[in-house]
């Protein structure tokens, strides 16, 4: 019942906002933030629900963007098909990348993803015949759904908001399902999860692939709403920003990720003209917030609706135990 009510509310908002907001600039800021919603949610699936860290989400964002743009431009594929393909491509790339790592040393996943992001940039810049290198792909076709062409910022809002809502809905549904429960088991205690019959490698792989799929879908939205795909949109800094949205917004909380995306994309975008100082120091400010969050509020802004998961609560407990030596090796 509550779900249906929320759904109606969301549909109402999506329909009303483009009419209510007349400023193209504010709609643009909202659209950009909404494109980052699936990215932040995807990072949250990986980090918040499953306890892994990906520092290469921008690469999967980019894979989605290039896949979607190239499919529509070169092969004339309709946008909805290219949109799905972008998600699948990014998800598959994530699975192939993560599998060897998850089987042997999953704590190196963060490194592998950094390396992958750098490699992605090298390829995107150098494979001129496919990506046109640093010049990027201009004139990406507009989104078109069953003959309806998406032209204005208001129409773009309708599409990106719908996608964001669908991603939030799907993730909420997954998180409440046995899959989501197995992710939390893996995150909180791998040994117990194994003893309860959880295939840890499979669970982590699924979480990582879902996170990358969401990033790929966001890539398609970016490509066709900005109508330009350049390698510089997918730098390592972007990956770190996406990770911060998930962490600071609230781990294991879908509303937290939505908030994170709006705060970290929308707010600086809105302040861009008024305060260049903030822009220079933005990474440092967010970095300091990360340190502070890990020490005092590891569950993030909205992540506290349930008791903080132990993998987070550990941090605040640690403060009190700072002076006591405790063994880091625990035996099963």
């Amino acid at each position: 019942m509550r779900g249906a009510l929320l759904f109606l509310l969301a549909v109402g908002a999506v329909a009303a906002v483009p009419h209510a907001v007349s400023s193209r600039y504010w709609l643009h800021v909202a659209n950009l933030s909404l494109i980052y919603v699936p990215l932040a949610i995807g990072a949250n699936v990986i980090t918040g629900y499953c306890g892994m860290v990906s520092m290469g989400q921008a690469a999967f964002f980019g894979i989605g963007a290039y896949t979607s743009a190239l499919l529509t431009m070169r092969l004339g594929v309709p946008w909805p098909v290219a949109f799905v393909a972008a998600g699948l491509m990014a998800g598959a790339a994530g699975a192939v990348l993560a599998l060897p790592c998850l089987r042997v040393r999953s704590d190196f996943l963060s490194l592998i993803t950094i390396a992958f992001n750098q490699l992605f940039l090298v390829v995107a810049n150098a494979w001129l015949s496919l990506t046109r290198g640093p010049m990027g792909l201009p004139q990406v076709p507009r989104m078109e759904i069953l003959g309806w062409t998406v032209r204005t910022e208001g129409q773009i809002f309708t599409v990106v908001a719908t996608v964001a809502i669908l991603c939030a809905w799907a993730t909420t549904r997954l998180a409440a399902s046995p899959v989501g429960r197995s992710w939390e088991m893996i995150r909180d205690d791998e040994v117990a999860a194994r003893a309860l019959g959880v295939n840890v490698v499979r669970g982590k792989l699924a979480a990582f692939a879902v996170g990358c799929t969401l990033a790929g879908l966001a890539g398609s939205l970016l490509a066709h709403s900005l109508r330009l795909v350049v390698p510089d949109a997918f730098l390592l800094d972007e990956s770190l920003l996406i990770m911060q949205m998930a962490i600071l917004g609230g781990l294991a909380s879908v509303p937290g990720s939505v908030l994170g995306a709006f705060l970290m994309v929308g707010l600086p975008e809105a302040l861009r003209s008024s305060d260049p100082w903030l822009l220079t120091y933005r990474p440092g400010i967010f970095g300091a917030l990360l340190v502070a969050a890990m020490i005092w509020r590891p569950q993030g802004l909205l992540g506290a609706r349930r008791a903080a998961p132990p993998f987070l609560r550990g941090a605040s407990d640690a403060l009190r135990r700072t002076l006591r030596l405790s063994p880091r090796h625990s035996t099963p």
Partner: protein, 256 residues
Amino acid sequence: MILEARAVSKRFGGVSALDRVSLGVREGEVLGIMGPNGSGKTTLFNVLTGLLRPSAGEVLIDGRSARGQPPHRIARMGIARTFQNLRLFPGMTTTENVLCGAHGREDVSVLGNLLPRPGRAASAAAERRRAEDLLREVGLGDRIDVYASALSYGQTKRLELARALNMQPRVLLLDEPTAGMNDAQAAVLLGLVRRLQRARGLTLVVIEHNVPALIWLADRIAVLDSGEVLVDTTPDAAASDPRVIEAYLGRDAVPA
């Protein structure tokens, strides 16, 4: 034998934790395992459940070798366990913790859970009822849907028991179920274990330090010392075995 260790050895570096241990448990039987600290009891559990690979020898489930099987597959073959130092999920509620035991029989594919499927709500509700029934059965009927972190120590032990039972195991391994409890609490918990065993016909392997309690509970007792099976016999015979007494006196002589 449902579950059997055959000539299992486990070495860590130069230290031999298990040395050619052969032990098995029959359907419906309660096997008690005792032995001084460091005698290899928990290592044996870790080998039986696949968390550790034996250096030599093998584990058999229903007479078939479980060599190379990962822990999650062994768990799905019906081998459940509890942990000496409790491994609950404190961020989940009691009911959710018990539901974790149902993992092996649930659909855990991503697509399967996203797409609509008839009967999903009904089966989820059935699992939930089953979990709540289990909570009542272990005496946590008034703690349904409470965060696990809010339970008392004795209650967490019961919760872990309920979670393991929800796996509907063929063999249940209990690693010191009464560790950290006073005598009265321990007696109540072991009474519960025995009641559950009788009511459900459980096959149990129990590590327990309290010798009288183990003699009361078990059908057969094995004593481990320095990684070897010292004695494998009836409870009464074990209680009067001079080697057992010596092994235990040896432990008591060393201050803990």
